[in-house]
Symmetry: C2
Subunit: 228 residues, 2 copies
Amino acid sequence: MIRLENLTRVYHMGDVDVHALRGVNLEVGSGELVSIMGPSGSGKSTLMNIIGCLDKPTGGQYYLDDTPVAQLNDDDLAEIRNRKIGFVFQSYNLLARTSAIENVEIPMIYAGVSPSVRHARAKAALENVGLADRLHHRPNELSGGQQQRVAIARSLINEPTIILADEPTGNLDTQTGKEIITLFQQLNRDRGITVMFVTHDADIAACTRRILRLRDGAIVGEEKVDEP
Amino acid sequence: MIRLENLTRVYHMGDVDVHALRGVNLEVGSGELVSIMGPSGSGKSTLMNIIGCLDKPTGGQYYLDDTPVAQLNDDDLAEIRNRKIGFVFQSYNLLARTSAIENVEIPMIYAGVSPSVRHARAKAALENVGLADRLHHRPNELSGGQQQRVAIARSLINEPTIILADEPTGNLDTQTGKEIITLFQQLNRDRGITVMFVTHDADIAACTRRILRLRDGAIVGEEKVDEP
Ligand SMILES: Nc1ncnc2c1ncn2[C@@H]1O[C@H](COP(=O)(O)OP(=O)(O)OP(=O)(O)O)[C@@H](O)[C@H]1O
Ligand SMILES: Nc1ncnc2c1ncn2[C@@H]1O[C@H](COP(=O)(O)OP(=O)(O)OP(=O)(O)O)[C@@H](O)[C@H]1O
Ligand SMILES: [Mg+2]
Ligand SMILES: [Mg+2]
């Protein structure tokens, strides 16, 4: 499903090169539930952005369902990002002048869903993350954890087959964080959705079946989690 | 030092009122080390913004060093925000087109510090949070946790007597998070700085001496932490 071969990502800054990813090799099968842990700055978001087709590697290959992503054109990539992959950004990336419900509707506009269906689905998605009474608040009228949950609802709205979540519970209290992870577990178990998320929380990682550890741009370890 | 009496904060949204804070009573003495916990949306950031003189309450009184804050003019408030209080925002609020070191220098520009002194202090502050090799990166060239640490360095740069940090370790791995909390503990212990931070992490709250619990805009509980 997701195959990375010797993936590298270098940021060139004048005469300094930042090696954010150094030869990452990884296979994630369809329907897996994987977490990624590692120190701040170790390359987790960089890795997620490449898997999510938001960024291109400097070297190496990325195969998505056996298709080399490097060969896809911009339209194909846009389609993948809109339909196949649901992405929760570490800094949410919500539209500022737009209410919670409108933010969640946006991916459906691109997918050509009718207004009444969009509205109903967005409402349900926000109810699912505990924001039934915040539909019309704009991001600056929401708490940090509420913004995070709008971003989560938005990522799920086109029923993607892959969910990539970059620290989805960083701004949530333990209880609300558990509810979000339970939601991801359900989607993985009931619909076979492939779920990968970055977390700094070992308790949350323990809710997945496979934990990858990143350090200085490379995968340095991996553990299987026994059935909890 | 900080005294809140029956503090309320209501957001008016058309015909709906959001009661973000409902009659908060609180005294925090000089030199205390306090954490605030509570569910997402319970009013923690709203409380911190009022204490930090970034927002005004709808009702009740806020006394800062026995001065009623409601009576201060804009210049006094700006002075307090720049010199007395160091604030770490939940979403960092870094300037986008500005490097890490320049972001940290900005409060010193307002305080009239000379360029060479500013540069040296900003460099040292960033080294203190592990960012010695990221001085010239702009926020979008930094990881989430690195941005958070720039915000932390900036909050400390004018040697405030009060530090207010809104979820300062939310995007940090456990090790880096501990280093930041240790830094706050040192400032509290060695320089008597009053430190209050919001956290969702019980292990981090356990590093403070007093834990306030917020729920639905009110303080519902408090615990003293025995010497760890
Ligand atoms: N556009 C960029 N230009 C230069 N360097 C960058 C850029 N983006 C990221 N970096 C650097 O690449 C490294 C990896 O960044 P990344 O955001 O992947 O880290 P991370 O593991 O997600 O960290 P965190 O846990 O703090 O979010 C960091 O050291 C960062 O400073
Ligand atoms: N400008 C605003 N207009 C209307 N409602 C608002 C506004 N700002 C915040 N709120 C609401 O006030 C409540 C308290 O928000 P606050 O940001 O203080 O929560 P919090 O405890 O910091 O949450 P989190 O842990 O998610 O950061 C939330 O329910 C939020 O939706
Ligand atoms: Mg990151
Ligand atoms: Mg908050």
